[in-house]
């Protein structure tokens, strides 16, 4: 009996000491990696637009300078539109970074612009706020798991057609045709280029189509744009006032008709 008691006592003591040592070593190792050596970092943000999808990507690195493994590293982001509806969920997983090794992966956040804009067309012309929830979780030493959550981060939305407006509409006769010179402009505040075609339909004040004009657009990110479109109009329908219907087609989005009265 005494031997059994002694054995149990010794086992409990040794295991408790081992667990205590393990917790201390793992805690120190993780603090060393993340706080003292600062071996977790994020790279430059990159924007990419293709088809109707806008992608924001950034690399992240973990250099495991500790004495235990990182496993199941999971970076998740969720972006919500101004109404609170989720529009993008992205997850990046690194299975394992063993001690002394380095791991890196690129996290990609994809936004389906055509879907977003079909739901909220005002986002093409008005500033707004999206909200982002981010979380990073990992297991350390295969024993502890950590999850860091940052809820409700505000991400300002920069519209590609900010302040799209009709600057001037002036009629003229070029000797053969009656024309309307339509000056318009906008500011591309978005992080992607606006490349596509613009079509204008000019209606008189009786809502009869007078003429159609078109031009191609190539507005770099963050740049204002202003230009003039010459539209040949039917002189029999010409009235002092009317409305311009603007249509813009790009691989990322379709805009219009935006009706702008003049005169």
């Amino acid at each position: 009996m005494r031997q059994a008691i002694r054995f149990l006592g010794l086992t409990v003591t040794i295991v408790m000491i081992l667990i205590g040592t393990f917790i201390g070593a793992a805690g120190y190792s993780m603090i060393k990696t993340l706080l003292l050596d600062r071996q977790i970092s994020f790279g430059q943000f990159q924007f990419d637009a293709s088809n109707d999808t806008f992608t924001l990507s950034f690399p992240f690195f973990i250099n495991n300078t500790g004495y235990f493994d990182f496993s199941d590293i999971n970076l998740t982001t969720c972006i919500r539109d101004p109404r609170g509806k989720p529009i993008s969920n992205s997850t990046t997983v690194i299975q394992e970074i063993r001690w002394g090794q380095m791991g890196n992966e690129t996290h990609r956040i994809s936004l389906n612009l055509s879907k977003l804009i079909s739901d909220l067309p005002n986002l093409l012309v008005e500033e707004g706020n999206l909200t982002m929830e981010a979380s990073i979780s990992f297991w350390y030493a295969h024993a502890f798991s950590f999850q860091l959550e940052i809820p409700n981060m505000t991400v300002p939305w920069r519209p590609p057609l900010h302040n799209v407006s009709l600057r001037d509409v002036s009629p003229r006769f070029n000797g053969t045709h009656y024309m309307l010179d339509v000056a318009l402009g906008f500011e591309n505040q978005s992080p992607f280029n606006v490349t596509g075609d613009m079509r204008l339909e000019i209606y008189n004040d009786r809502e009869e189509l007078m003429g159609v004009g078109a031009m191609s657009l190539d507005v770099p990110a963050g740049q204002p744009w202003e230009d003039q479109v010459e539209v040949v109009v039917d002189p029999s329908k010409l009235t002092p006032g009317g409305a311009v219907h603007i249509y813009i087609e790009t691989p990322l989005f379709s805009f219009g008709p935006r009706v702008m009265p003049y005169g």
Binding site: M16, L148, E149, P151
Partner: protein, 171 residues
């Protein structure tokens, strides 16, 4: 008569004093260090934010621990110390699960308009702790049985009327 009584009191005091000192010392070790941590300015705020329970619950837990340790040390050499040890282990297991929210702790730090939330999950380690606490309970039970068995095997010495001779009896 009076000197007899004084001698008995001195003997009792000589017996009790080391136990009281030992009990106080162990009581301080078992609860004092937690209380010192708890009341260090700066550290206490972080310490409190970790606790998913009220401040009073933590203090009452420490008080229970100290009381148990003092009682165990005072009752050394009796069967009650084992009973108290088992009770203390079981209470500490329940409190540990309760205090650590089942091994999942949550911390929140304000950051501008939002707040960062850190969730720390150590259920595996807690499970190992609980298993070995149960083994500790088993050990205490065996110690109790062993203590009682040894007590039963000891010879009972019946003092003789005149005190000159003593009769030995074995049951």
């Amino acid at each position: 008569m009076g000197s007899d009584r004084g001698g008995r009191e001195r003997g009792l005091l000589r017996k009790l004093l080391p136990r009281i000192i030992k009990a106080s010392l162990w009581g301080f070790i078992m609860g004092g260090e937690a209380l010192i941590m708890y009341f260090i300015p700066g550290v206490s705020d972080v310490f409190k934010s970790f606790l998913p329970v009220q401040e009073t619950s933590f203090l009452s837990l420490v008080a229970v621990f100290v009381a148990f340790e003092v009682a165990i040390q005072m009752l050394a050499g009796t069967v009650y110390r084992y009973a108290l040890s088992i009770t203390r282990t079981l209470i500490s297991m329940i409190f540990l699960v309760y205090l650590t929210n089942g091994g999942i702790m949550t911390l929140s730090f304000p950051m501008g308009e939002t707040a960062i939330r850190i969730v720390f999950n150590f259920r595996t380690i807690l499970a190992v702790f609980l298993i070995f606490s149960l083994i500790s309970v088993v050990k205490n039970l065996l110690q109790t049985v062993n203590f009682l068995a040894e007590g039963a095997e000891k010879p009972i010495i019946i003092p003789h009327k005149d005190g000159a001779r003593q009769k030995k009896a074995r049951y």
